[in-house]
Symmetry: C2
Subunit: 184 residues, 2 copies
DNA sequence: CTCTTTGTGTACCACATGGTACATTACGAC
DNA sequence: GTCGTAATGTACCATGTGGTACACAAAGAG
């Protein structure tokens, strides 16, 4: 039944995701995507049935990748919140993470602009981080607090390129929280 | 020297900014902009000399508007940080502020995507808020911390539409900070 | 009045986008 | 080998964009 070498759709998808990451946004034309995937617009539409599906499947793949990267198992259970958050900050702001970070923020923008899919992505990521941080922080409210600071720090970091203010802010929030807690 | 009724460029600009705010983004076509301003693409290009200038001047006008809205003089000097931040949060997340908020975030996105102008806008806003908060918070590091939490809270609010988590996070940061400080 | 200058509409251009029609190619089944 | 079906390229389309050429209108200067 097999004609020709029938390209591997999975590989195409990987390359599309790579193109999105490289561009730091989903705003990559089918032509560029095709070239980047060693194929053509024509074939991408043929195999995926339209741009929407490419985006959908690329997002799904990104979700999977992030899920395994931030799995709670990846962090020692005895670690302090400070250690974990610091490691997360380092990893998140590392140069090689920039593309993914930009892509995630692009999805955030789509979410606040009304995209249902992007909103789902955001909620999933939120859930993931909550689950992770709940293992190192005392209660839900603290996790919420730290998470929002982290997000604000990411935003500032992306614009200024300076990792330090964000790190300082996160460390401070944790320190204060800890001090208050230890006093009680 | 004056021919015809020569339209007021200032009014046109105001209406363009209104269109941007209404759309919550600078991504409004010249055609839409023209219609919204009671004019036409033709005339907008004629008077402003191109899209870039319209955006530039609209941003400048937005900056002015925000500058007077968040002038330190607008807040009682004796107020507590909690009061001020709570008021700022209310004002920022009020339904009628949504358009401006979205537009500001659109500019943030442009900033992290590389736009020089948008980056300048971001830095100016940052400066403004720093200046304002320095009047109610003890030191620069605390202001930085609160500011980043605030930004993260705004992001989450825009996506979820829920004002409460953000408010909780901001209140917590301030409370902890205050407790730690009072203990020292 | 006429003449010049400027405001304005219409129709257009060039370009990029997502997507498709149609022809052609290549390969496996037989 | 032949044949049919799937893979692919090319050329195209419709739409939306920023911007412009050109013609015309209107109003002040003289």
């Amino acid at each position: 039944m097999r004609r020709r070498k029938k390209p591997d759709v999975g590989v195409l998808l990987d390359r599309c995701l790579a193109a999105f990451v490289e561009a730091g946004t989903l705003d990559v034309s089918l032509d560029q995507l095709g070239r980047r995937a060693g194929s053509s617009k024509r074939m991408l539409v043929h195999y995926f049935g339209g741009r929407e599906n490419i985006e959908e499947q690329a997002i799904r793949r990104l979700e999977n990748r992030l899920r395994e990267q931030f799995a709670p198992e990846a962090f020692p259970p005895g670690a302090t919140a400070q250690t974990v958050m610091s490691a997360l900050w380092d990893r998140t702001t590392a140069p090689q993470s920039r593309g993914v970070l930009l892509l995630v923020m692009d999805l955030s923008k789509r979410a606040w602009s009304g995209s249902k899919r992007a909103k789902r992505f955001y909620e999933e990521q939120q859930r993931l981080w909550m689950e992770l941080l709940m293992r190192f922080l005392p209660d839900r409210a603290t996790v919420e607090e730290v998470l929002q600071t982290f997000q604000g720090a990411v935003l500032a970091f992306l614009i200024t390129g300076d990792r330090e203010p964000g790190r300082r802010a996160i460390v401070r929030v944790l320190k204060n929280q800890e001090k208050v807690r230890s006093r009680a």
